[in-house]
Symmetry: C2
């Protein structure tokens, strides 16, 4: 099936074939089902059988698309992070002032968390898995790297434009920005009634800007 | 047994009785065993039987001291956080300048994580549990509140001394400081070879100081 897909893809590079559309729809259905099952049961209790049943497919059909529940989990998280990065990157450019850019990066990250709580549930589940399994650590490391690289690129460009202090190490600043976000997601998830994520966009931005901006005098 | 403990406690208020010493030793043994089992198996796979066996006790003996594995888990985390707070508070006073105080707060938090990785494993496991269960959320919320209150007290005192900007909201700044710490713990756990926790004490401190210190001009 994937062979015929490839042949057809070569012939019509801009249009998906019917088998390709079906394949992508099935993958999307499996990913949706897996996301529901993981969020509801947690990773350990979730099984390939449960996920296949939720998607209305057989276990065998699931294995055509994904090797394991680990692969499904990784794909869900990576897809989420890639969508987040792409949406933020699309809104940023050299004309956006540093303060606005930082606010947009943080707003973008929070908006996706607000879209559906299952993303948040999955990412915290992921934190625990990363602590217990090599595949979890590798998957999480690749997600961190994806986000870090995007932020480092942004910070380096802002440094070249003279908006970010030259003594700021972009890789370190990127890690701190990610840490601030992840840490606040954890608090929000734990105390949803005490935290209004929108109320933290301004102070988070202010903290980051105070640290990186050339407008602050070195102490 | 607890009744006779209380009677003996009333008679010799400053000295623990032999039954009390035994009781505390047994509790400590159970907490140690539980910490090992949780870190090794994760919360879901850990069982009261496994924990009792690891401690060399019967399940019945365990239930004399703890109602459930949830109670054991909560007690381990709370004990860890209380030790961390007390150790940091002992090192701080009105004579310690803001910069040094912030560095000490962050150093203290990291030092405890370096003492044994099981604390880190437990706290990330805890993040996932807080996402899935009401007891986990309540326990985590109480730990956040414990840490927040300590930091708010510190920030309010520093504000009174004129070291922290008057427009900084102490509760918000405390949340951001905790988020920064928790987020970096997660990264460190995921990429232990890429992150030297000690290398982040200075930039974390710098970010927080840039945000709260009166020495920065408002943008």
């Amino acid at each position: 099936m994937s062979l015929s897909d490839n042949i057809l893809l070569d012939e019509h590079q801009d249009h998906r074939t019917l088998p390709q559309i079906r394949k992508q729809e099935t993958r999307a259905r499996l990913l949706d089902a897996a996301q529901k099952v993981f969020a509801l049961c947690g990773f350990d209790a979730a099984s390939v059988s449960l996920i296949a049943a939720e998607a209305g497919l057989s276990k065998g059909a699931l294995y055509v698309h994904f090797d394991s529940k680990e692969a499904l989990f990784r794909e869900i998280l990576l897809g989420y992070v890639q969508r987040r990065s792409a949406a933020t990157a699309a809104r940023l450019g050299p004309d956006v002032p540093l303060r606005n850019a930082i606010v947009q990066i943080i707003e973008g990250a929070w908006t996706i968390h607000q879209d559906g709580t299952s993303c948040t549930l999955l990412s915290t589940e992921f934190f625990a898995l990363a602590g217990r399994s090599a595949w979890g650590r590798e998957a999480m490391a690749s997600i961190f790297d994806h986000c870090s690289l995007a932020l480092i690129g942004f910070l380096d460009a802002a440094k070249e434009r003279g908006e970010v202090r030259p003594d700021i190490d972009s890789a370190t600043a990127a890690r701190l920005m990610l840490a601030l976000h992840d840490g606040l997601v954890l608090q929000w998830q734990t105390q949803p009634d005490d935290i209004d994520p929108k109320a933290y966009i301004a102070p988070m931005s202010e903290m980051i800007i105070a640290y990186i901006s050339v407008r602050n005098t070195a102490p």
